[in-house]
Structures are given as C-alpha cells and as structure tokens.
Symmetry: C2
Subunit: 424 residues, 2 copies
C-alpha cells in the first residue's frame, strides 16, 4: 500500500499515458487527447511539447501527410490511423494538430525464437515494423550461441542502418519455451536449445554493446496475447485466453486486464493440463497432457499420417487440413477427434477463467477453423452455461507475427512507463 | 488509459491508504505510518486528524489500552496488534501515537450462505467480529425469502444493538454458488436455493431500509481467498490458488495480487475442470469434473460408505478421516484415492497459474491433511518442475469463517477506497 504520487510523478505518469496513447492508436489529434486523458488543452500542449522536445513525438496539421505513415508498414491493419484517420473528427474552426509517434527515430528490437523459425525485426514506436528478417531454424539441438547468432547479426545491421538521430529503447524476445521471468533462463521448451539455457543472460551480454538497453525475454504465448490485447482481436477484452500452437500448445492469459504470468513467469502452461489420465506419455514426463491430444503429433497420428516418415511441422498440419477439405476420410476423422479434445480443454479453461474471448493462434488457429463445430459442441457439453454463454471464440488477428509484435510491446514498456527516464 | 490524479484525488487516495493500513494491520504508530506510506509526519498527522474527525480512527498513546482491542474478538489470531503490539518499535524520545481503527463504531454486516449453515456477523473496522450468529441451513430446497430470512432477522437485531454513534458502511455476502457479479444473481450452486435466484436483488431490497448501504454478493471461494490474502496464510503472496470444499469444490484465485473473477464473476470454477473423461456424471451436466473425484460424495463412495443411508456432510467426511486414522482399510484406501486425484488437479492448476501457494480450505483442508503424501506425490509426477518447485501447499489460517471475513472485507472495500465519500 503506497501513498499517492507527487506532482512530479503525476507529470511523468501523464507523459507516459500520452505517449502510450499515440503508440497504441497512432496519430491522434490534440483534441482527442484532451478528451481521452481528461486533461485540459494547455496541459496536453505542454506534455506534447515536452515529448516532442525529447524526440518521441512530432506534431503536424491533419492532411499534411507523413512519410512514415505512408510506408504502409503499420503493424495492425486498420488501427495505426493514417492522416485524417479516426482520431480527427470533423470540427469547426482551426483543425487540431495531430500528434504522431516518431516511429522512424524511436525503435526497439523484437526477436521471436520459434520452433521452426527465427524472426528479428526493428520496430518503430507505434509498433510499425521497419525492418524484418526471418530464417528457418537450424535443425537439431543448438547451443545458446548458435540460437542467438542470427539475432545478433540482425541487431548489428539494424543498428548500423538506423538514422543518425535514431534511438533504440529496448529489446524484447519471444521464445517458444518456459522462461524464468527474472533472468530469461529457459526451463522447458521446443525452441531448439536446451532446458536451463541462460538465454536472457547470453542475449543481454552480447547485445549490451550494440544496444545499451535491457533485453527482456518472455514466453511466446504470453507475448502473443499481449499483442492481441493491445492491437489485435482482443482489444477492449479484459479477460482473454489465448492458445498458441506450434507443435506443442501454450497459453497466454489476461485476467482483469492484466497478464497472468504467475510467480516466476511460468503461468499459462495450459498445454500441460492433463485432460486424459489414460492418454499418451507427454514430453514433460507426465501423461495425457492436453498437448498430447491436440498438438501436432496428435493430429498427424489421428489423421493416420506416418510420423516416422518425418513429415512434421506446419506444412504437415496444413496438408491434413487440406486433405480433409478435399474429403479425405482419415484426415476428417483426425481433425474431428482433435477438435473434440480442443473443445474439451477450452471448456476447462472457460470454467476456470470465465473469459470474454478465447483466441486461437498459429497452428491451433488452423485446426480450430477446420474443426470449429466439434470445438463448440464439446464446449457446450463441458462448459458451465454461465461461463460459456458470453464467450467469443476468435482467431488471432495479427497472424504469425503476433508474438514478435508482443516482444516489441515488451521492449517499449519501459519507455511508455516513464518516457523521460529512458530518453534523458 | 487515464491521466494522473488531481491533488484532491491524491488526498482522498492517501486517506484510503492510511485507513486500509490500520484496517489490515491493526493499531499502527504514526511513525510506522510515515515509513509505510512514504509521507512526511505532518501529512500523516493531517490525514489522521481528518479520519479521526470523521469517526473512522482514534489516536492513543501506546500502552493506554483499548477496550475494543481487549475484547479478544480479533478476527485473525496474532495479527490485529494489541496495545504495544508489533507496530510500536522501541524508539527514544516521545512515543509515537498509535492510530486505531474505530472498530466498535464503524462496522459492516457479513453473511455466509453455505451448504450446511448460514452465518451472519457484525464486523468492526479492522475485521473484528463483534457479534456473530450461526444456524444450520434449513433442509431441502428453499425459496429466496426463506434463504435470507435468518440474515434479515440478524441484520435488524445487529442494527438495533449498535452504539448510538455507530455507523454501518456496507454488507457483504458469501454464497456457495456461482454468482453473477453485477447483480448477485445465482447461476449454479448448492447453497440451498435455486439457480437463477435473484439473491443480490432480494437482499438489497430487504436491507435497504435497515442499512442504506449497498449489498454485495460473491462466490464463497472468491471471498475466502480474499480474506486469506488480506490477513491469513497467504499474506504477501501475489499468486494464490485457494481450494474450498463444502460438498462440491470451488476455487478462489489471486494472480499478480488481484482476484481472478473473470468476465461476469464466474472465474475459479476449478471443481468443474474435467480431469477424468471416463469418470462419473457431475451435477453440472458434464462428466468427470474434478468435483466428481474429490468432492464429498467421491470420498464417501471411495471409502465404501453407504450414500443411500444419507450420512453426508462435514460429519461424514470427518468420520472417514477418523476411521482411516484408526487403521480402517476401506477409509485409508478411499482417502488415498481421493488424495491422488486432489494432487492431480492441483498439478493442473499449478501448471496453469504458477502460484506461490495453494491453500486448502474447509473440508478440502481435512482431506489434504489426511492424504498430503498422495497429493504431493501426484503433484510431483504431473506438475511441471519449473511450476511446482517453489509452490507451498498450506491449509487455510482463518478456519471455517474465512469466507465470512472475506465478505466483511468486501463490505469495507468502498469505505477503504474513498473514506470520506462513504461517511460524509
């Protein structure tokens, strides 16, 4: 329990709120900011000037155009708000100045270390992807240095390519693994390295020279839901269960508007909720985990595919779904079975969290779309009426880069919490 | 995203924080308040005077004694802090005044409508139980009026018995049922009434004359965990899973320091997480819910008791546990089986929430104590190492009245959020 803030703390808080508003909404008129923040025009003017002086925002008359906005690199379709966009309602008299995030000059590095690929991006304030590179993951089990090598190469190039007055404010990393929150240590995961890899420490050490900014590492589903909640399908939803499939199954949870990450950052491991005690052995050492019924292997096995032939991964799942669409009976039966188990676990999570929305992401998105009837049917049988009656089942809006964008959000968080502390 | 507060909002916030501090900690010295709130002595003095003027706190020299504190009615053993208690460290010079909550004068009504009993209490600020009455629940299915009749009778007497300068600030109700948060409507539950009972509205209408204060109704496990988190075993734990057993099984969840109640208030229905798809039919319409494996009926059946004989309830569970302690083989086997399933579901919740602590309350507490080895053993097999390695398994500290005290906390919440708004 802390006493209320000082005047100086309030000013810094307000600077952060204003910057966060243009970061999330894109260009926003002073008039709109006045309404949204509940502050008077002169205060908004003073805050904007201070942020502009620090190189974090700039002001333009509506319709003046913005080279950055016109790049078409907005992360979230339809939300960045181009010139004359949703933030500039028609008003009589002098038009209100638009406040733009300085997306070209203020940026973060975002990395995603996934099961079958590694993605790196330089992302501008406002979550505009300015530069992005993706490479397939090297096969086999890798040492930490091998995992992070392509990221470091990208980081060096990205920093070299930045404008002279550019400023890097942080680095966020999404990993398909259980990640210890304090130091980014890997505890369990399929991302290509080993359990106990000191991923956070290694990245921080290697990047310190290039960045001089903190590196923050988090689980991929936790970051994907952060992105979907900030600028995707779950905007405005305070209670969200996000399911991420990439071979295994992970969960990212928002409750009462805030992430449920647990005591050490391991929260949301819904793939290891046991749903079938009589089921198959799981890689985690347990048996009948949800992942063993709805993960990649489960679908391929249920569809009669030859796992020994090594046809795993995204393409193999797509192949099953396409075969089912063509009428292949084994593929249809497999999808039906997996869809039933998907609905089963969703019902459990709906009973536990009473969410407004369940979001299906990555490969789970495709499975859901192909078996939505089974999912809904099982949900209706297992979910408590009160918990399920208002829940919306939706697919992720940000596509395969949701976690990458979430990593960028994470990287910007320190700046948005206290802008002048970071850029001073 | 809101801008920071005004000076007036900060002052009101600080009044709330100070009042909350003495409510939670009991009598607290001005020196301690200065440290805890991070405010200077004159500000603390001014805030205290204002609260004293409103009749919410009083100040005394340490050792002056307090008739209220000496009643021995403190709700939480060892935490209310009698005169000269933990809040008055030895200091040279003039002793710092102790700030006491006005427990006799400022109070709330707390009700608990449970499966086998109804409890009503008048609870003073600081959560001191001043007056308490318990009656067994009437048998059979009851109309709303019958459910609330004993509570209304208590409320009338409690209000009549209050000191002339006493002030009632609210009424909180814990119900063994799923409760819609906005209006206190019952959706599913074993509390004696029916689904769709307008419990909240009926209580509010009936009590408005007596109270002139809002009535807030919540699920019993949600309130029990609130109490354990505020002044019980889970003080200081930001991630807690609380399990409440009273025939069925309910959960109360704290994540990142805040309650997980879900979109409409139904969150935490962990008893209806399906753990055994091949299991028994559940009262909710599904099959193999956790409740069907660890609830009262499951234990009695596993221990070979004759359910048709009607020996249900708390006494029947105690009888099984005592029989096992005497060496009864059927009772031991039954407890072992239920303990295994208890550990199974706990492991799922540990994987989903990564809590610091799991708290076993009410009848689940007794089952846990009798089968802790099975619980821990199954948790170790099903729980992910990273999630379970730091989790503490504990029993509730506040006993059978945890939910009643949580209902009182709920009733005080509006006062603590903005003291002068409520007592003005």
């Amino acid at each position: 329990m802390r006493a209320g803030p000082s005047q100086e703390e309030i000013r810094r808080h307000n600077l952060g709120v204003l910057l966060r508003t243009v970061h999330v909404r894109g260009a926003t008129s002073r008039a709109e900011l006045t309404t949204r923040l509940g502050l008077n025009r002169s205060t908004i003017g003073a805050l904007t000037s201070e942020l502009a002086g620090a190189g974090l925002v700039r002001e333009e008359l509506p319709g003046a155009g913005s080279p950055v906005a016109n790049r078409g690199a907005a992360a979230a379709p339809g939300r960045a708000g181009g010139p004359g966009g949703p933030s500039t309602p028609g008003r009589a008299g002098r038009p209100s100045l638009l406040v733009w995030p300085e997306s070209e000059r203020v940026c973060a590095l975002a990395f995603a270390i996934e099961v079958d690929r590694v993605v790196a991006a330089r992302v501008g304030l406002g979550c505009q992807v300015l530069d992005r590179r993706e490479s397939p993951r090297l096969p086999g089990r890798l040492a930490v240095d091998e995992v992070i090598a392509p990221l470091l190469a990208f980081a060096r190039n990205a920093v070299a390519a930045m404008p002279a007055d550019g400023r890097l404010v942080g680095c966020g990393v999404a990993v398909s693994a259980m990640i210890r929150q304090d130091d980014g240590r890997v505890r369990l995961g399929a991302y290509g390295g080993s359990a106990e890899d000191p991923l956070g420490t290694a990245l921080a050490e290697a990047l310190t020279g290039a960045l001089g900014q903190p590196v923050t590492v988090r689980n991929i589903a936790d970051l994907a839901v952060l992105a979907e909640h900030t600028r995707g399908v779950a905007v405005g939803c305070d209670n969200v269960v996000y399911l991420h499939g990439d071979g295994g199954v992970g969960g990212g949870i928002i409750a009462a508007g805030r992430p449920v990450t647990g005591h050490r950052g391991y929260g949301g491991e819904v793939g290891h909720m046991v749903v079938n005690p009589a089921g198959r052995a799981c890689g985690c050492g347990s048996r009948g985990c949800w992942e063993t019924e709805i993960g990649e292997h489960a679908l391929l096995a249920a569809a009669g595919r030859d796992l020994a032939a090594g046809a795993w991964g995204r393409e193999a799942i797509t192949a099953v779904i396409e075969a089912a669409a063509r009428g292949d009976a084994r593929a249809k039966a497999g999808l039906s079975q997996v869809g039933d188990w998907l609905g089963f676990g969703v019902a459990n999570l709906v009973n536990i969290f009473n969410p407004e929305m369940v979001v299906f992401g990555d490969t789970i998105r495709d499975v859901y779309l192909a078996a939505a009837a089974q999912v809904r049917s099982r949900l209706n049988r297992v979910g408590l009426p009160a918990c399920r009656e208002h829940v919306r089942l939706r697919t992720a809006a940000l596509g395969a880069d949701a976690a990458l964008l979430g990593a960028a959000e994470l990287a910007f968080e320190r700046l948005l919490a206290d802008p002048l502390e970071v850029v001073a």
